[in-house]
Subunit: 197 residues, 2 copies
């Protein structure tokens, strides 16, 4: 009886190999044979799952979105209080590269960025992800204002834009070593404290 291979899992393992290459070197050196070598499988095996380099990169972009999404959800699950600003903090922590795994994802995201700007479909994927995050931040900030946790004159949509852009900039600073995970989070905390009543 032949061994049953989980197609999705095998594709995932190959994408993980691409991940390690992209995080170290960008997308420049990514090729089907390079990925096969990194994954320790034959090029034919890679081609069984991905017909072309383009298909492999497209799958990786989707996987990246899923991983960021899962990380944000995991941060949210750790919030035990009813405090709306704790939820805002968890959302921002979910998009910051605070550990090795999220750091690798952020580097892969950076490697895809120029490609996303030039590719309308990939660009729309990026924008939809950003929009969703900003919308949820706005909603949580509006709730925080409604229950009197932040000042009545705070504009939730504006603050959501500021906090999201701040997290984006801090993320880059962590990657180059200008911030640690802790110092970046403390910048976020000071911003949130300033909004608090």
């Amino acid at each position: 009886m032949p061994r049953i291979v989980d197609h999705g899992q095998r594709r995932g393992e190959i994408a993980e190999a691409l991940w390690r290459i992209a995080a170290r070197e960008g997308l420049e050196t990514v090729s089907l044979s390079r990925v096969a070598q990194e994954a320790g499988v034959s090029k034919g095996r890679v081609q069984h799952y991905f017909a072309s380099r383009e298909e492999l990169l497209g799958f990786t972009a989707t996987l990246l979105q899923q991983r960021v999404d899962a990380r944000v959800r995991a941060q949210l699950a750790r919030v035990t209080s009813d405090e709306p600003l704790d939820v805002v903090r968890a959302l921002l922590a979910g998009i910051l590269p605070l550990d090795d795994e999220s750091r690798t994802d952020a580097l892969v995201g950076s490697a895809f960025f120029v490609r996303a700007v030039a590719d309308p479909q990939l660009c729309e994927t990026y924008r939809a992800g950003n929009r969703l995050m900003r919308d949820v931040l706005t909603e949580k900030l509006a709730h925080a204002r409604d229950v009197g946790r932040i000042a009545a004159d705070v504009d939730p949509a504006h603050e959501s834009t500021v906090l999201f852009a701040l997290a984006g900039g801090l993320g880059e600073s962590i990657l180059v070593g200008d911030h640690t995970a802790g110092s970046a989070l403390s910048v976020v905390d000071r911003q949130l404290a300033r909004l608090s009543t």
Copy 2:
């Protein structure tokens, strides 16, 4: 009498060709022959100025720093008031991709980013540029506080970190089309207005 060729200028023209490729496609497809084709010269001509792809990329990183530096200076030169917050705004405007030229530079910068994270020397160039910008922002904010333009309880070093990260995040948003130059500048203006007394 042989025509005298300006070595620096010719190198610059070749780097400009690399620029256009990198802004469109990232660094993936950059090669000496591809750059020669884009610049409309022979590969031998390119090799006369750059011995290798690495040398070409190293020169481009330096040129990128110089261009950002020149743009910040140009923005500062346009400040006609003594208002310290106008200087802060000019510094931030200098690092935002507000027109085609700065947009192209920002895309080239993004293309270099993963490379910079992995390469200690390039990373230090990035960090030194960031440090200089944050230091100048801190100094100008401290001055603004000393002359009573911003509240006495504002921490210049913290605000400089926030504004610099904010500009970084807004820059990415402009590149993917989530912000226009105008809407990004208005986010900056609102942040500065909040600091004002």
